[in-house]
Amino acid sequence: MSVTVPMTATRSAVDAMLQVEGITHVYGQGATAHRAIENLSFTVGPREFVSIVGPSGAGKTTLLRILSGLLTPTEGTVSLVGEPVDGVPEGMAMVFQDYSRSLLPWLSIEKNVMFPLTRTEAGRDERRRIARESLEAVGLADRHDRYPWQLSGGMQQRVAIARALAYRPRLLLMDEPFASVDAQTRSDLEDLVLSLRDRYDMTILFVTHDIDESVYLADRVLVLSRPPAHLVEEIPVPIPHPRDQITTKETDEFVDLRGRVARLIRSGGQPDGGGSR
């Protein structure tokens, strides 16, 4: 609980925002023990956008839960701006994969979005304004008084995104946030997240199964292996910003990168699969 994400990223890029060292996680005990993550290490710089891809069940959600301080790893340490994480750090927000269960059914969607804002200094009106703004950004402003169960799956997912955005986190963890959203909305939301990253100096870790998306958004793509997850490769994405949904995806660089990621995933984390190109 003691670590605070700094409000402005004044440190040099050499300083790690997030440092993951030798993380291993084992679920359960004895015969049914399951080794989800194996000795995973990597570093994320301030304002960096890192995509995480890997096969289903690799341990991506487990990793995000560890980074957010919700789960203590069996082994290894996580540090935020140099200090070990031993609880949920201040200034962090998360979009959960199981979005429908992370919404509170007794609150309207506006109240759901306002929910974490009570922790900020904002007054009630200010909180409502911020919530409306976020709902507007995900295209749900006109539904603000509905309840989660009155929304479609994709809409619920967008509410969860709006809630995280409204919180203005310094560190944003997103677990397949656009899985249930249609292609057009998805493109819009991708660009929205990128622009908010710039506007609010956020550091973002983004789990996705969409390879195009992982490359389009990221400064770096982490490819995880089949379970127990370890790092297969880190692929930097040196495509300049701002990026464009159509033109960027047409560049050779992009096509090349997405090909590399795809092959790495297909090879299921065999290092040779990644190095063959």
Binding site: V26, A33, G268
Partner: protein
């Protein structure tokens, strides 16, 4: 699988997967467990002993006196009766079987009707005020009616207990059944699972945590009700002996019967809890 990257940490670190089962550690753990489970109780009883031996009122015998009387009252019978006294066999067993039978019937009835009400709005609307009215009449006040209609025998007592118990199970069952998530129910219907299997495979398991919570409350109620039912037209039973001891100011006996009720309740509840632990293992683990 992908062994190439794995460092040889496995052997060095058994991790939480290999809990220590050594004799010493095992004993230590057991005694710690016992300390947690019964520590508070032991401390309270000790305080009670101190307080009652200091005071001189005839109404508060010491726990030791009560326990001693407990042994004398129930376990000084002839060897051929396993040392059980007539009080143990005549009163305690009589009450126990009335209670257990009434409880079983009440639970069954409560679950059946509760499920029905949880499922069907029409049923609920027809019965809501009646259910509320009937369960509003205090059991004790309705005892004379039970005697009137069903006579003064064990049949009446069993029915009376079942009646009282059923409301707790019924209300909790209805509430548990009504709060099952729609997608889960839709799944059963979409696969045309038979109604019987929808009931036993989806609805009851999903509502089980709340049904069992109702059954625990019902168990408490059953003990209270069997005692109450033995206040009238009874010739034996825990309630009968208790009220007689109370009337005749046999304070030590009264406390002894109360201790017996507490012990019975504890035992029965432990049985229920073990069953619950079995039935709801998934629930507990899924929530960890």
């Amino acid at each position: 699988m992908t062994t190439t990257e794995i460092r040889t940490t496995d052997a060095a670190n058994p991790g939480p997967a290999a809990p220590g089962k050594g004799g010493l550690r095992g004993t230590a753990r057991l005694s710690k467990r016992l300390a947690v489970d019964f520590g508070a109780l032991v401390v309270l009883v000790a305080l009670w002993q101190l307080a009652t031996s200091a005071a001189t009122t005839p109404f508060f015998p010491t726990p030791l006196e009560i326990v001693e009387n407990f042994g004398k009252m129930f376990f000084t019978g002839p060897p051929e009766h396993l040392f059980l006294t007539d009080a143990a066999t005549g009163d305690v067993f009589a009450s126990l079987w009335r209670m257990l039978l009434g409880y079983a019937i009440g639970c069954a009835w409560g679950i059946i009707v509760g499920t029905l009400l949880g499922r069907s709005r029409a049923a609920r609307e027809y019965t809501d005020p009646v259910v509320e009215l009937l369960r509003s009449i205090p059991a004790t006040a309705s005892l004379p009616l039970f005697i009137l209609v069903l006579g003064g025998g064990d049949f009446m007592r069993v029915a009376f207990i079942a009646w009282g118990v059923s409301w707790f199970v019924l209300i909790n069952t209805a509430s548990g059944v009504a709060s099952i998530h729609a997608t889960m129910l839709a799944m059963g219907r979409a696969f045309r699972v038979s109604r019987v299997r929808q009931l036993f495979g989806i609805i009851l398991p999903a509502a089980m945590p709340k049904i069992l919570a109702g059954m625990r409350i019902g168990l408490t109620a059953a003990l209270i009700l069997v005692v109450t039912s033995e206040f009238m037209v009874a010739t034996n039973g825990i309630g009968f002996q208790l009220i007689q001891a109370q009337r005749r100011f046999q304070v030590l006996d009264m406390w002894t019967w109360m201790l017996l009720l507490a012990v019975l309740g504890y035992l029965l509840n432990t049985i229920l809890e073990v069953t619950e632990g079995r039935l709801l293992a998934w629930h507990r683990k899924a929530r960890d």
